[in-house]
Amino acid sequence: METTKKLLEIKDLSIHYFTEEGVVRAVNNIDFELMRGETMGLVGETGAGKTTTARGIMGLVPNPPGRVVGGEILFEGKDLLKASNLEMRLHRGKDFSMIFQDPMTSLNPILTVGDQIAEVIRLHEKLSRKDANLKAAQILEMVGIPAERMSEYPHQFSGGMKQRVVIAIALACSPKLIIADEPTTALDVTIQAQVLELMRELQEKLGTAMLLITHDLGVVADTCNKVAIMYAGQIVEMGSLEDVYDNTMHPYTKGLFGSLPSLSMKSKRLVPIDGLMPDPVDLPTGCPFHPRCPDCKESCKSRAPVKTEVSPGHYVRCLRYE
């Protein structure tokens, strides 16, 4: 598995929604890379554009009203934005697949679990119905569900079990990349640990790269080797786990860590980041974080910071480091 070749490279990607209330700038010129077998966390509050980025990669941005307005998404060197619908369809499920957030609604209620897994297998691997079902059974076992339950329906499974099925569907054709959009948010903590554990195992076993989208910094710490912090559609800080966790640069990232209860630091009160997420329709001028930034300077209000590399592999978008 040569990890040198870049699996996924996002260059200057912008995705906007054109609605009647105005243009929603969900994703603004983000770029990052993902190597084969690597796991990167994409962290941010709700509305930061995480899910839109994921859907952008998968080519599932609902159009109208959404549209990719700029940038490139290179998957193994090929720009997905230029790919035809047919090509994209062949990629989805085979080369990259997606796990959605709410297991309760991500499975088709009227089809058996087995059928839903077999469907993706038969789409990408020329197997007969019988063999596809056999493989589906194996994958089901792999995610810890007895094969006999293949003929049951989603409503007969608990939340955790359903998420396992969704994972089974995503990994059925051992894709090179999984995009997991907050896979454990809807689950309670005990099940969350099991599901994450399962995903990490399968990732090692199949050598799959993963883009994990979450707002839970703890989950990122356990599973990812790289992390990118998103705010108002931009990546404000990106780097290896140590870079971002140990010598955090960007004020927003510091704010995020500040609002986390931690056993080691004995702070009596959590320090929330005050203010609200900016309205994506009219983003603040200059650095989007400036209205909420504790050490905001005059220039922050007017000039938009540029992505600067503070140390190898550690990027930040803040005027203080330019």
Partner: protein, 333 residues
Amino acid sequence: MLRYIAKRIFLMIPVLLGISFVIFLLMYFTPGDPAQMILGDMADKEDVEALREEMGLNDGFFERYFRYMGDLLRGDLGTSYTTKLPVWDEISVRLPVTAKVAFFVILFAVIIGVPIGILSAVRQYTIIDSITRVLALLGITMPSFWFALLLVLLFSVRLGWLPASGLYGPSYYILPIISISAASIAIITRTARSSMLEVIRQDYIDTARAKGQKERVVLFKHALLNALIPILTVVGIQFAGSLGGAVVNEQVFAIPGIGKLMVDAIKARNYPLVTGSVLVLSLLQSMVNLFIDLLYAFVDPRIRSQYSRDKKKKKALNGAVTANAGMAANKRK
């Protein structure tokens, strides 16, 4: 499943009893004397009075009601005042005609309504969507007999392509079906559109697309099957409605249906025929509703599991699984 059907049929009895009671009440209080209608207005008082006595019209309300119920339980719907035929004979001739027409109307409405509904849902905010929505509205707003008359004048008289009335062959069915189904097509289209729109926004549709499934299959397999239930409900209501409701069209196209029979029976104060036809019609309508509910179970497993007896077995299995899944997970740690 059978237990559920038995329960539903058992539930129909009080409803039918209720209907017969209300009809009897309505008939009891409406003025107009059946005996007079039978003997005609030339008959003199004594004859009318004698007939009233003979028909038991002078007895008390409850006495007549219980006598009627007694006969009903023995399966005898009484005899029609005007033609003196057993009510069942009159109904059994007219009911299949209405049922056949109603069936074709619904078939026609579904074949046209559902695809258009889906199309306008998929192509939302385009010109097709607006055209179908407005045409659907026109279907609902047009008085059916006006539309029926227009059709007859256009296709029978001016173009001579189709016969104007009667039901003596396949070509006779075309105009009545178009005129009766206009409203049903409109309603089915609108429901199909709104329920499709509802389903298309669900997450599992994106899951299907994320699998790399063709858009056509995503829509017509994943989406449509889930959108079926609201559509089925409306189809059921429309079918039940057009059974009793097509009176006006039956008159324009001279179709010997049960709707017209019922209306004339009331006008002639032919109590047994009125009650009989309304009861038979309500029974048929309840059967249609039951059939539609069973279709729900067939289409949606969530509903099916409510009926099936083996619910207990399922719970046990569910418990076991969570235990060993947990074991498998920590065994590997």
